[in-house]
């Protein structure tokens, strides 16, 4: 199964564990936006479309699924259309065409009343620049979503207090947003989103405006909350480290299109194209790739008494084990032996990182294949093994991408 979608390889609709399904979503800014879709301009360069129609294509034929409980990260540089994409999910920006299904319900079909219902109860958003109301106290900011729902004051204050405590801002209930630091303001934004107990959390680059240290704190906060609350989240970021840290799956966006959708390992270990490869080239692979990624069948005559480890162990932690033993590490999940990871596998995984072009990588692959027997080290089949061993956990391979 490739991480790169082949256009038609759109996932099946309405799968029970899918919260959001996005199908062929387009957003084109400009007067005659409709004149682009369905014509041969559809696949044209963004600049050409701009020249010929005056329209700006922000999101181009994007399809993906967000599974219940997962954190789905959309990553891309500025101008790649990711903020537009997340706004289309809650129709803060009206999509030009395409479908957004929330639990099978087409959000595009919702009338104003229904849309408000969805926004009040089902999804909540955290914004890059916080979007707090400067004239209101923190508690009134956090309670805002409950207030517009019509919840009585004592109830909403009680809930808001709970949320304020949860994000660690107890004692600041009566402050105004202007009196808080950026990090604290974003905690308020987070509390406000959580207060309505939404089914889905949407994060639009929530930490980009914060200092690096504060940003790390906030990331840990999100990881912690995610562990406690298991909310389905869509998280927009331009920071790859953040994406790798928070994402169960990552979608990489470029010029309005999805280039690749996959687990952090897939994105780093098997970039779909040179763009993604370039993007991920600075990542230390040993901290992202796990044993599951490299697991393989044993070679004939290989020692099978090596140390054991979980499939989720990152390579950085597998390395010392391999150093201590000449036998390959056995990868065991819940008593089942998934396969083996040897020194060569790890070395190659690291070395691929250093090589600029695929040709060199292929050369190395060829050499190792010759040395070892019958191609068992081919990365494709390695992932095949991984697939076999996968039982629905976060290590699953990609679902979709855009038609490119």
């Amino acid at each position: 199964m490739s991480t790169r979608a082949e256009g038609e390889a759109v996932p099946q609709e309405g799968a029970s564990d899918t919260t959001f399904s996005v199908r062929h979503l387009w957003k084109i800014f400009g007067r005659n936006a409709d004149s682009v879709i369905g014509t041969d301009l559809e696949h044209a360069d963004r600049d050409r479309i701009k020249d010929e129609t005056g329209c700006t294509v922000a999101v181009r034929d994007v399809s993906f699924d967000v599974r219940t409980g997962e954190t789905f990260v959309v990553m891309g540089l500025s101008g790649s259309g990711k903020s537009t994409l997340i706004r289309c999910l809650t129709r803060l920006i009206e999509p030009t065409s395409g479908q957004v299904l929330l639990d099978g319900e087409d959000i595009g079909e919702a009338g104003p009343q229904r849309l408000r219902e969805l926004r009040r109860h089902r999804m909540a958003m955290v914004f890059q620049h916080f979007g707090l109301l400067p004239n209101r106290r923190i508690i009134d900011n956090v309670a805002y979503g409950l207030e517009v729902r019509g919840m009585p004051r004592p109830d909403r204050y009680a809930r808001a207090r709970e949320m304020i405590d949860m994000v660690g801002l107890g004692g600041y209930e009566n402050s105004r947003p202007g009196e808080l630091s950026g990090g604290m303001q974003q905690r308020v934004g987070l509390a406000r989103a959580l207060a309505v107990d939404p089914q889905v959390l949407l994060f639009d680059e929530p930490f980009s405006a914060l200092d690096p240290l504060i940003r790390r704190d906030m990331q840990n906060e999100v990881v912690r909350l995610q562990r406690e609350l298991h909310k389905t989240s869509v998280f927009i970021t331009h920071d790859l480290q953040e994406a790798l840290k928070l994402g169960d799956r990552i979608a990489i966006m470029r010029d309005g299109e999805l280039v690749q959708v996959g687990t952090p390992e897939e994105v780093v270990g098997r970039p779909a194209d040179a763009y993604v490869a370039d993007f991920t080239s600075d990542v230390a692979r040993t901290t992202v790739l796990t044993a599951r990624w490299l697991v393989r069948e044993p070679f004939p005559g290989e020692r099978t008494d090596g140390p054991t480890t979980e499939p989720g162990t990152v390579l950085a932690e597998v390395l010392p084990m391999l150093a201590a033993s000449t036998a390959p590490v056995r990868v065991v999940e819940g008593g089942t032996l998934l396969g083996y990871v040897g020194r060569d596998d790890v070395l190659r995984a690291i070395a691929e990182d250093q090589l600029e072009n695929a040709a060199a990588a292929a050369a190395i692959e060829g050499e190792t294949s010759e040395e070892l027997s019958d191609g068992a080290t081919d990365p494709a089949s390695a992932s095949h093994v991984a697939d076999l061993g996968d039982d629905g956990g976060p290590g699953g391979s990609a679902t979709a991408g855009s038609g490119g």
């Binding site: 809650t90 926004r119 979007g131 109301l133 949407l202």
Partner: protein, 654 residues
Amino acid sequence: MAAVTRPAAGSGKAAPGGAGGGGPSLLRNTWVQAAAVVAVLVAGYWATRALGGPAWAGPFPTAVGDAFMAWLDGVYGWIVVNRNDSPLFLYFFNYVSVGLGSAVVLIDQFLGFLTWPGVTVLGVLTAWRVAGWRVALLVLAAFGVFALTGLWNESMTTLALIIASVFIALLFGIPLGVLAGRSDRFHRGVRPVLDFMQIMPAFAYLLPFVLLFGIGNPAAAVVTAVYAFPPVVRITALAIREVPGGAVEAATSLGSTPWQVLTKVQLPLARRTILLGVNQTIMLAVSMVVIASVIGAGGLGDAIYQALSKVNVGQAFQAGLAIVMLAIALDRVTGAVGHGARTPDVPERLRLPLLGGGLVLTVAVVAVARLMGVRGWPREVAVDLAAPVNAVYEAVQAAIGPTTAALGAWTLDWVLGPLGSLLTGSPWWLVTLAAAALAWIFSGFGAGAVSGLAFVGAGLLGVWDNAMDTLSQVLVASALTIALGVVIGVLMSRNDVLAAILKPVLDAMQTLPPFVYLIPAVALFSIGRVPALVAAVVFALPPVIRLVDDGIRGVPAPTLEAARSQGSTKWQLLTKVELPMARGSMLLAVNQGIILVLSMVVMGALVGAGSLGFDVVFGLAQNQLGLGLASGLAIVCLGLFLDRLTQGRRAPRA
């Protein structure tokens, strides 16, 4: 003759597009082109004189205008006859009129009911609560002036008129502003209307409302409300638009209805800015309520009007002082509400008790005062300023009267006279073409077309001669204003001490109603065209100075540093860097200056400046509404031309 005109139009046509192609570059310079147009006009004037002024080369034929005026008179006659029969009047205008009249009377009576100690206590306490003790003292001083000048009742009437008209203006203005803030389409539609309303001189507003509401307080209240309402619409729209998009988006994403977004996010966040709009509206209402004395509004304006028509400088000064104090006090109080500065910091738990205490105190004062039979401030207990001021006036006139008279005569003979006869003595079509060509050269084709139409319009209204007379006064006053304004503005931008001194003076000058500028002008130059001209210059100067200063100070420091590092002298710095970079501000200064000059020159009719403004007043006084209305419309035409002429190629309005 036609041969003479064509080059003018031709040079105009060639210029903007640079279509002349091979022509020398000199011809592309706007100022050269403008000079050429003026030269053609002067040549045309002399040629007409030489030909003995044939009919086809004279002023605009008045046949159409006369017919129009007669028709308007007929309409007015019909209205007078049918005012109590026609359903339109019976069920609408008369109701509005009676309702407004009673509203003004009711407010006036309520202020009377409070008695002077009650009004004073209420005013001072309110001022203290919203703006701090300094402003409270200022308000106290204002009430002191009302009382001691013996104009307490007039002041209360003016206050009642202002309250009524501001209420109407806000009632319509804020919802319209909110609409314009939320809907781009509505904003696009309403903006040109507001622009137009703001270039219309106050005097031009008066007559249509007389037509509908008759003469008196109701018409005054409506005209004041209409005149004062553009800023609140504009600023409310701006304020709603300035609310951070992130806050609105966040509120929307949480499922707010549009009404919830408006009431919970946009209005609270826009509050302060909207209050600044309210402040501007109040200030416009103050200036208009005085002018509306011409259509029978009572109060302080009437006192000034009466005094000016008797050339009683002393009395005019007293009433002028009262209106100045009223204007400044209202400005400071409402301005403070908008800025939120200096408001006493009262802890939240004390706010209600404080409010209650203030109310109790006011009620107690009113009760005691009424028990003691106190009503308005007794007229007998007043300091008569009129006599000493008149004495000073006599003395000033004796000392410099001859000088100012000579200066005035010189201006008339050598500047106003010749310019007036150039405009009235040239063939009307030549003047119109010249105006259109000038507007084209300075502001583009559209402006040229509008200007030409405006001149034809003024001609069709049948008041060509008076319009040209007014125009000549405006041109002279504007030239003076701009020259003085640029010089003072440049000096002010160079010298921080001068700026520190001038700023509060300019602030105060900008809050004064235009009417009061006539008083010192009359004191120095007696009556006639010259005092009107002087008043116009003084009135229009503050915003010009301020804009020039702002523009030059707005030039980025790094740019100046770079120019200095390349060895520019101060003069080179000014002429090559600062003034060119301040072009936007300068253009706006010229535009605003000229529009203000026009509104004041027209008002100068009250001190004998004649022409269009006089026709408005005369038409009112003699029941010749046709003439008055036509003159009012001609003023609008002139305003349109002057605005388009100075708009520049880049739209100066932000």
